[in-house]
C-alpha cells in the first residue's frame, strides 16, 4: 500500500513538472504585457504536431523534434506578435480575449484541415523504456519532460533576473514610455518575449508528445490546466508556475488514487478556489 503511494506521489511530481513546463510560456506573456493568451493550449498542440512531423518525415526522436518544435513555435510567436498582438494590445480587454481566442480556433481548425481529426501517437518507448528500481517505475519520456521543465524554469528565471536582456524586458513590462526614453525598443523586447514564451511552449509540446496522444483538440484538454497552474502560481511568476504545477500534479494523483478519479478535479478546484480567496495574487505573484 505505502509502496503504491510512493509511486502515486512520484507520478504526481512528474505530471506536475509537465504542467509547469507548459505553463511557463503563458505566465511569461502575462508578466511581460498583461495579455492572457487563450491560444496557449493550441501552441502546445502545434509543438506536438511539429514533433510528430519531424518523427514521421525524418525519423528523428526528441533530440531532433524538440529543438525544431522550439524554433518553429518561436517563429510562430514572433509572427503572432506582429500580426495580431501588437494591434489588439491597444484595444479594450475584450478585444484581447477574443483576439487570442480567435487565434486558438484558427490554429486548431487549420490543424484539423491539414492533419484530419484522427488521434496520432509517437511510437512507444521513443525516448527509452521505463526505469524500474525497487519496484518504482518511471517512464523515461516523463522523466525527460520533468528534467527539462526544471531546467527551462530555472533558465527563464535567470534570464529575467540576471541578464541585461531580462532587465530590458522587465523595464518594458514596468513602464513602456520610460523604457523607450532609456533607448529600449518595446516592440523588440515584446517580440523577443513572445518568441521565448512560444518557443518554451513548443518545447513542452514536443516533450509531452512522447507520452500523450496527439489530436487537434488536445489544446482544450491541456489549456485549462495551464490556466489553473498559472493563477495558482501567481500570474507572471515563472518559479510560481513550477511550484504550482508540482502541487497540482501531486494533489491530483493522490486524490485520484485515494478518493477516486471522478472526484480528483473537485478536490483540486476546491483547494484552488480556497487558496485564491485567501491569496488572490497566487503563490508568488505580485499584487
Amino acid at each position: 500500500m505505502s509502496f503504491v503511494l510512493v509511486q502515486v506521489i512520484v507520478g504526481g511530481l512528474l505530471l506536475g513538472a509537465v504542467y509547469a513546463l507548459f505553463s511557463s510560456g503563458l505566465t511569461l506573456v502575462w508578466g511581460m504585457m498583461n495579455i492572457v493568451n487563450f491560444a496557449h493550449g493550441d501552441f502546445v498542440m502545434l509543438g506536438m504536431y511539429v514533433a510528430y512531423v519531424v518523427y514521421t518525415l525524418m525519423g528523428g526522436g526528441p533530440i531532433l523534434g524538440a529543438p525544431l518544435a522550439t524554433l518553429v513555435l518561436a517563429t510562430v510567436g514572433v509572427v503572432v506578435y506582429f500580426a495580431l498582438i501588437r494591434g489588439i494590445m491597444k484595444g479594450p480587454m475584450l478585444a484581447q480575449i477574443l483576439g487570442t481566442f480567435g487565434l486558438a480556433l484558427l490554429l486548431r481548425y487549420s490543424v484539423f484541415w491539414w492533419f484530419g481529426a484522427n488521434f496520432l501517437s509517437m511510437p512507444p518507448n521513443i525516448v527509452g523504456g521505463t526505469y524500474a528500481f525497487a519496484g518504482l517505475r518511471i517512464e523515461a519520456s516523463r522523466l525527460l519532460a520533468g528534467v527539462v521543465a526544471l531546467l527551462v524554469t530555472l533558465g527563464l528565471h535567470l534570464l529575467l533576473t540576471r541578464t541585461s536582456l531580462g532587465s530590458k524586458m522587465l523595464a518594458v513590462a514596468e513602464d513602456q514610455t520610460a523604457a523607450q526614453l532609456m533607448g529600449i525598443r518595446p516592440d523588440t523586447m515584446q517580440a523577443i518575449a513572445w518568441a521565448i514564451a512560444a518557443g518554451a511552449t513548443g518545447l513542452a509540446g514536443a516533450l509531452i508528445a512522447n507520452f500523450f496522444y496527439i489530436v487537434p483538440t488536445v489544446g482544450e484538454t491541456l489549456g485549462i490546466v495551464a490556466f489553473v497552474t498559472v493563477s495558482l502560481g501567481g500570474f507572471g511568476s515563472v518559479p510560481g508556475a513550477l511550484v504550482a504545477g508540482l502541487l497540482i500534479g501531486v494533489i491530483e494523483s493522490l486524490s485520484g488514487y485515494l478518493i477516486g478519479a471522478i472526484y480528483k478535479d473537485i478536490v483540486v478546484y476546491v483547494l484552488f478556489l480556497l487558496f485564491l480567496s485567501f491569496r488572490p495574487q497566487g503563490l508568488m505573484g505580485k499584487m
Binding site: V4, F119, T130, T217, E220, G256, Y257, G260
Partner: protein
C-alpha cells in the same frame, strides 16, 4: 421584330422551360439532418461518420446494382418519391449535449429536415432526440447504446444498434465460456468515464453480472478526456482484478493503453465495450501495445464481392480508413431510415414514422451482422445482435466468439505489448 428574333425568343423560352423543369427535378431532394461530433475530443469519429454517410448517400442516390439485395441500391434515388435524391445536412454537436440539442432545433425549424439522424454520444442523443420528439420529427439513432434511450416512452425515436443490455448479456456468456475453458474470471473491474455512455453502460453491465450472482468487484470511474490516468491504473494494479471491462472513448482509451504499459500492468482479460477501441486511430496509435484486447462488434467484412466487402472498399476509398463497427452501424442505420422514407413515399413526418414502425428487413438485406431490423413499441431494433472480436496481432480485429461466427479461437491471457 423579324422572324429570326421570334424564333430566337421562342428557343430561349423553350430552353428556360426545359431548364426550369430540370431544376425542378434536381430540386426534389429529401433533407436528412445529421448530428455528429465534428469537433471536440471525439472529432475523429465525426470525420469517419461523415465519410461513411457520403458513401451511403452515393449508394442511395446513384444506381449500384452490384449491391444485390440492399434496399435502394439498385436504382438512382428514392423510387417511392419519384427518384428524389437524399441530401445530408451535417451539424456539429461539439461533443456537448446542450449544443446537440440546439443543433436539432436548428435542423428541424430552419433547415426543415424530414428526419434527424445522430448523434453518436449517448448523452447527446438523449438531449437532441427530445427536441425531435417535441416537434414530431422521426429520429433515427444507429450507434448510441445507453439502455435508457428507448425507455422514455418516445414515439418518434428509433434505434437500430444492439444496446447495452444485449452486450452485457454477451459479456456474461463470453466470460462464462472463458471460465469453462480454464481462465480465471471471478473478480471483474469496470473502468468507465462519467458521461451518459460510460455510467449507463457500466450500470447495465454491473446489473447483468449481479443477476448471475457475480457482483462487480471494482468500479473505477474517471472524468472524460482525462489528462492523466496513473492513479486509476495503480488502483487496478493494487486490487488485481481478473477481468477489466473498459468503457471509454478514444482519447482516454489511448491514455489508458499507454499508462498500463508504462506502469507494467496487464489484467488476464481486457474486454472493451466498443467506442474508443473500435476507432481506427486507436489501433494505429496503440494497437501494438494492446494486443489481445477483446471488443464487441456487429461488423464483419465478409467474402470479397459480397455487398459488405464492396461497401468496405468504397468507404476505404473515400476516407482512407478501414471500415469499422461504428461507421458500419451508422451506415446501416442510415439505410434503414432512407428505406423507410422511400416506403413512406412522402416527407410527411407521420408517414415516415409509420413506415419506420413497419420496417421488417431480413439479414440478407443488411450490411451488418444483425438478425434483421424490426422495431418494438419503444423503437428498439429487437433483431440487433453482435459478436466478440479480438485484436490478436495489434493491427486487425478477428471474430472469436460465439463459436458459430468465430474466425479464430480466442487467445488468453491478454498480451499487451
Amino acid at each position: 421584330m423579324n422572324l429570326k428574333h421570334v424564333t430566337g425568343l421562342l428557343c430561349a423560352a423553350a430552353m428556360s422551360l426545359v431548364l426550369a423543369a430540370g431544376a425542378q427535378a434536381e430540386d426534389k431532394v429529401v433533407k436528412i439532418g445529421v448530428i455528429l461530433p465534428m469537433s471536440g475530443g471525439t472529432a475523429s469519429i465525426g470525420a469517419h461518420a461523415k465519410a461513411a454517410l457520403e458513401v451511403a448517400t452515393d449508394i442511395v442516390n446513384n444506381a449500384h446494382p452490384e449491391l444485390g439485395n440492399l434496399p435502394l441500391a439498385k436504382n438512382a434515388g428514392l423510387a417511392g418519391l419519384g427518384g428524389a435524391k437524399i441530401e445530408v445536412v451535417i451539424a456539429d454537436n461539439q461533443g456537448n449535449p446542450a449544443t446537440g440539442q440546439n443543433q436539432a432545433l436548428r435542423l428541424i425549424t430552419e433547415d426543415k429536415v424530414a428526419a434527424v439522424f445522430g448523434a453518436y454520444q449517448s448523452g447527446i442523443t438523449l438531449t437532441s432526440s427530445a427536441i425531435a420528439e417535441k416537434y414530431g420529427i422521426p429520429y433515427l439513432n444507429s450507434e448510441s447504446v445507453a439502455a435508457n434511450l428507448t425507455e422514455r416512452g418516445f414515439k418518434w425515436f428509433f434505434r437500430t444498434t444492439p444496446i447495452a443490455t444485449d452486450f452485457a448479456k454477451a459479456y456474461v456468456d463470453f466470460l462464462a465460456d472463458m471460465k469453462a475453458a480454464g481462465a480465471k474470471t471471478d473478480a471483474i473491474a469496470l473502468v468507465h468515464d462519467n458521461t451518459e455512455y460510460g455510467t449507463s453502460v457500466a450500470n447495465t453491465i454491473a446489473g447483468a453480472f449481479k443477476e448471475k450472482g457475480q457482483p462487480v468487484a471494482l468500479d473505477v470511474a474517471y472524468p472524460v478526456n482525462a489528462t492523466d490516468v496513473q492513479g486509476q491504473v495503480l488502483q487496478l494494479k493494487d486490487k488485481k482484478p481478473d477481468v477489466i471491462i473498459m468503457i471509454s472513448y478514444t482519447s482516454d482509451a489511448i491514455l489508458f493503453a499507454k499508462t498500463m504499459q508504462s506502469l507494467d500492468y496487464k489484467p488476464a482479460i481486457l474486454l472493451a465495450d466498443d467506442a474508443g477501441y473500435s476507432d481506427p486511430s486507436f489501433i494505429k496509435a496503440v494497437g501494438k501495445i494492446s494486443q489481445g484486447v477483446f471488443n464487441r462488434s456487429s461488423w464483419a467484412v465478409g467474402p470479397s464481392g459480397s455487398p459488405s466487402a464492396i461497401i468496405a472498399d468504397m468507404y476505404k476509398k473515400k476516407s482512407g480508413e478501414e471500415m469499422d463497427d461504428t461507421v458500419g452501424r451508422q451506415m446501416q442505420g442510415f439505410f434503414v431510415l432512407a428505406d423507410a422514407i422511400d416506403r413512406a413515399g412522402s416527407t410527411d413526418p407521420a408517414k415516415i414514422q409509420a413506415a419506420l414502425k413497419a420496417t421488417d428487413l431480413k439479414p440478407e438485406q443488411l450490411m451488418m451482422g444483425y438478425k434483421g431490423v424490426k422495431f418494438d413499441d419503444k423503437g428498439q431494433n429487437v433483431l440487433a445482435s453482435g459478436l466478440i472480436i479480438q485484436l490478436q496481432d495489434g493491427e486487425n480485429y478477428t471474430a472469436v466468439w460465439p463459436k458459430a461466427n468465430a474466425e479464430k479461437p480466442p487467445v488468453l491471457p491478454y498480451k499487451g505489448w
